[in-house]
Amino acid sequence: MLSDILVYGLMNGAVYAMLAVGFSLIFGAARIINLAHTAFFMLAAYAVFYFGTSMAFHPIIAIPLSIVIVTLIGVFVYYVFMEPIREHETAVLIITVAVALVFQELILIIFGGHYRGVSSIVSGYISPMGIRISYQYLLTIGVVSLSLVAVWLVLMKTRLGVAIRSSAQDREVANLMGMNVARIAAATMAISVGLAAIAGVMVAPLYTLEPHMWLDPLVLVLAIVILGGLGSIKGSFIGAMILAFIEVTVVFTMPGGSFLKVAIALAIMLVILVVRPEGLYGVYMEGER
């Protein structure tokens, strides 16, 4: 059981970390609470189902194609629906909910409401010390780690990364320094949706696909970014690992655990918030107090 907790916790933690880092990035750079974030994740999973299973493309084509298409949709949604009304934060919030609902309903109409599965990209498993770990899990954890390291490098080492971080710190000053904050926000949106899409295509073989699969991860992602501190990448990663392990431990050790897993994860988030109101690694910006 301990090994199960370890494997599933690491696996879920990796996926949640991908989602939470993306969510955190776009909140930081554009102050958008993108509730459609996990809907992009779902969209990518369905795209890989469509290209890989229905159209029978090879995974090597289907996976990058899905990621690119979903990312383009994300940038399109940003430019058409969010950028023009950016000052009205509540309206943007509801627009992201509406976008998520549109995705959900389109998928319901196109693919129907029944559960779908995608076959694994790689089959087989290894069993070190009697723990059975399928290659798909290892691949997912590997890809997620690589993507997170890549995002970290982009943020820390490139001009775009500096621009994103500076506009996250203070949008107005960044604008005064001659940066095109709208374009930076669009680039951040692309990275953020891209991360969600990568997570989506990687877990498509592991999760069951259905049109409401965006809701449960959304609640957890929100809890994670709050726990870790909004806008903090490190916080999102650590928060994801904490909540994923709590969730998996509850499922494996408590009776009725699958009903309580989210409740207990959220209760722990609340306790941490009461002690540290800005999350583990969050900071209050002076102007936003």
Partner: protein, 342 residues
């Protein structure tokens, strides 16, 4: 005679001068006279449920629009009141006019319990922390299915009143009265402090006002009104289920209010009375129902990001540049100070 002349003058000078006030009066009269126009139970039922949801949405507006304590878990108040009402009614057999106030009081208590840990949180942190409460409660409800009815909820609750028409009038009149009270609260001295807390909490505290007291008051008031809505809804539909605590329920209140216009109270009412019947009409296009609904919300907010009432109000009325009184859009001079409207 004099009374009639006085009231005629009042109607002419205070209501007919502003198109939005005419719309509001026509709306209220239409709601009250609806049973004379149609005996169709389906229409009356939709309007009654819309009234109940209008109370709920307006209570969200009171807390989040005015005080700025954006709550993503408003269904908590609704659900707690619904379950309290249902359990009291079913287990103890108490009538609706006792259970609904007790349910609302339970919601107030929950408002305090939620408000106290949330006092230190701000902005999105507060919103996303409040999101957690109804989900946690839902987990508890699923773990004790014997007491709370589990997934199916609690059914077999007595009706709000024995006649459909009475139920309709209870819902509609309560909605009008409660929303008027909420509107007056936001207009009062307390309302000004609420506004100020939203704009700059530190400045309010620096002015010697105990913001903690007022924030808790906002949580309690909002819980009270949402709780009344929850109790009414339970007795109207005669069921209390876990869907009343769902994330979607909280977001429905937010969607209605922002669609109608945030921080106005009447915007919440308008939002519900447009979107809820629309969703019912769309049942005709069963498969595309939610898609069309989401697209309507998307397009309307894209064009009018401040909400539909604010948008229409700004089209129909202008503010006098000198005395700040609102005037109809077609007036050349202000109706109070006769200065020229530019």
């Amino acid at each position: 005679m004099a009374v009639i002349r006085m009231s005629m003058r009042y109607i002419r000078n205070e209501i007919l001068v502003l198109p939005t006030r005419v719309i509001a009066v026509v709306f209220v009269l239409a709601l009250l006279l609806m049973p004379l126009l149609t005996q169709d139970m389906y229409i009356l039922r939709i309007l009654a449920i819309a009234s109940i949801f209008a109370i709920f949405a307006a209570s969200w507006d009171l807390l989040s629009g005015f005080v700025g304590q954006v709550s993503f878990g408003h269904a908590l108040f609704f659900g707690v009141a619904a379950y309290t009402t249902a359990l009291l009614n079913l287990r103890l057999g108490w009538p609706p006019f006792v259970t609904i106030p007790i349910g609302a009081l339970a919601a107030v208590l929950v408002g305090l319990l939620v408000g106290i840990p949330c006092l230190r949180l701000k902005g999105p942190y507060l919103g996303l922390a409040t999101l957690a409460f109804p989900i946690m409660l839902m987990g508890i409800i699923f773990v004790f299915p014997g007491f709370f009815g589990g997934e199916l909820g609690i059914s077999g609750i007595t009706r709000l009143a024995s006649l459909r028409i009475h139920e309709y009038y209870i819902a509609v009149v309560l909605m009008l009265v409660l929303c008027y009270i909420m509107w007056k609260i936001t207009d009062s001295k307390i309302g000004i402090i609420f506004h100020a807390i939203r704009e700059d909490e530190i400045a309010v505290r620096a002015s010697g006002i105990n913001t903690i007291k007022f924030k808790l008051l906002a949580f309690c008031l909002s819980g009270l009104f949402a709780g009344i809505a929850g109790g009414l809804y339970t007795h109207f539909l005669r069921i209390a289920g876990p869907s009343m605590l769902a994330v979607l329920m909280s977001f429905q209140a937010i969607i209605w209010t922002i669609f109608g216009g945030i921080a106005t109270i009447y915007g919440a009412v308008v939002g519900v009375f447009i979107l809820f019947p629309t969703l019912e009409v769309l049942r005709a296009a069963s498969e595309y129902r939610m898609l069309i609904f989401a697209l309507i919300v998307l397009m309307v907010l894209r064009v009018m990001p401040e909400g539909i009432t604010t948008f229409i109000r700004d089209k129909l009325e202008r503010e006098c540049p000198r005395c700040k009184v609102r005037n109809a859009f077609n007036r050349k001079e202000c109706r109070v100070c006769y200065s020229e409207m530019r």
